[in-house]
């Protein structure tokens, strides 16, 4: 696989996990955009610009609802709230992730043992 392909692959990795992280963050409590970006940035090193499109897409797919709330500083903020569909989707993603991660781990372990 070329370098470019690997980078793309990494981006795909991140993209898949990013959804899960964002969903989980919002599930804990309603958050606004910048807050979420900071939250996600703690976990994954991600381009900050990409969070907003993600939020947008997931809102369009009805995993989130949005509402405006006044803030003490600056203009009102748009808060994201997870929906039932969003929770279901999150659970599915978590399951997938665990399975995927487990398989990859097992595979890598086996390979390591085989080499030794």
């Amino acid at each position: 696989m070329s370098i470019r392909g690997r980078i793309a692959m990494n981006a795909q990795f991140k993209k898949g996990v990013l959804e899960l992280i964002v969903l989980e963050s919002v599930r804990q409590r309603d958050r606004y955009g910048y807050e979420l970006v900071e939250e996600v940035s703690k976990v994954v090193d991600v381009n900050e610009g990409t969070i907003y499109p993600l939020l947008k897409r997931m809102t369009n797919e009805h995993y989130f609802e949005t509402y405006l709330r006044e803030s003490t500083e600056g203009p009102p903020r748009k808060y994201y709230h997870i929906t039932a569909a969003g929770i279901l989707y999150r659970d599915g993603l978590e399951r997938d992730w665990n399975e995927f991660q487990q398989r990859v781990c097992t595979f890598l372990e086996e390979q390591k043992r085989g080499r030794e």
Partner: protein
């Protein structure tokens, strides 16, 4: 790149989205930048964190399932159109203007037509009502008459005429009643006849115009025929005169030859030949003059032959003579034309 610039560029790239969504997204990014700028970062740094502008825009558009290169392609196409199809655009513009103009023209025509129709309807209505009113008057008058007649028999009719009750009393009143009734009915009749007269007059006018037009056409045809006749006659008169003069000369020659023959010269053959020629010429002259007024039913072959002869032997003096003759002829034909005209007019008036 500062915030305003960034937002402006992002707006351009996302122009495919509808305004509400666009504002929503831009708002979010603006807030994000503001918050970062409120911390330890500058606007420029915050914006740099977003990474490549095109990638960002593509990701946003992806959230809407829109092809990221859509706006770009659109712009490119527009640019190409500007460069390459300027002529076509001019053509399209002209076409649009023309069709627009035509449409306006048509709609104006329609408007005018509708206006005329309305007005015409109104006019027709007014005339109809007017005529109807006249008729009613007429009808009313006849009714009155009838009621007057009825009252003679002493019957009290049910119609709502206060005058009627009085009518039962005396014959005088009846006669007065009748008198007025007659006057009214006379008025009605007069109006009716006026209208009918007007109508008839109009019809007659139209007919007269039509006849006049027909007559004009006919007259034009006649004029052409006359012109042809004049030409024909002129030609035959000319040739007749020419040939006649020639035959006179022949006669003169024949006389000379005869005198010489009598004196003893051996000219018998030539004299006989001259005699034949003279006779021939005379007959041709007569033939020419017989062709004069009978129109064009002569055979074309002999005509052609004669024409050639005439053309060959025509001289200036003879032409003058011919012209004077022709004038006489044309005067005659003109007189005839005038007569015919008056006759036609008479016919038309009769019609």
């Amino acid at each position: 790149m500062n915030k305003a610039e960034f937002l402006q560029r992002l707006r351009q790239k996302l122009s495919v989205l509808d305004d509400r969504e666009l504002e929503d997204i831009l708002n979010e990014y603006e807030q994000h930048i503001d918050m970062k700028a409120a911390g330890a970062m500058t606007e420029e740094e915050a914006i740099a964190d977003f990474g490549d502008m095109d990638e960002l825009a593509a990701q946003i558009l992806e959230a809407y399932h829109v092809r990221a290169d859509f706006a770009e392609n659109e712009k490119k196409a527009a640019r190409d159109g500007q460069n390459e199809d300027a002529l076509q655009r001019v053509y399209v513009k002209v076409k649009r203007a023309l069709t627009g103009g035509w449409k306006e023209f048509v709609s104006a025509l329609k408007c005018g037509g509708r206006f005329l129709e309305e007005k015409g309807d109104a006019c027709a209505d007014a005339i109809f009502r007017f005529l109807k009113g006249k008729k009613e008057v007429h009808a009313a008058s006849s009714e009155e008459e009838v009621s007057g007649v009825q009252q003679e028999s002493g019957q009290a009719a049910e119609e709502a005429c206060g005058v009627k009750a009085r009518g039962t009393e005396a014959a005088e009143e009846k006669s007065v009643f009748l008198f007025f009734g007659r006057i009214v009915s006379g008025c009605g009749h007069a109006a009716g006849s006026c209208v009918s007269f007007c109508w008839k007059a109009a019809v007659r006018c139209v007919k007269l115009c039509w006849a006049l037009a027909v007559w004009c056409v006919k007259y034009g045809w006649k004029a052409a025929v006359w012109a042809a006749k004049i030409c024909w006659n002129l030609f035959w008169v000319c040739s007749g005169i020419v040939i006649g003069l020639f035959s006179c000369m022949c006669l003169f020659g024949l006389g000379l030859l005869a005198v010489m023959l009598v004196l003893g010269y051996p000219l018998a053959g030539i004299t006989i030949g001259m005699l034949g020629l003279t006779l021939c010429m005379c007959s041709v002259t007569i033939g020419c003059f017989t062709l004069l007024l009978r129109g064009k039913k002569k055979d074309a072959l002999s005509c052609a032959g004669e024409k050639k002869n005439a053309a060959l032997s025509c001289t200036g003096e003879e032409k003058n003579a011919a012209l004077s003759c022709a004038e006489g002829e044309s005067a005659q034909t003109k007189e005839k034309a005038a007569k015919e005209k008056t006759a036609k007019e008479g016919e038309v008036v009769h019609a």
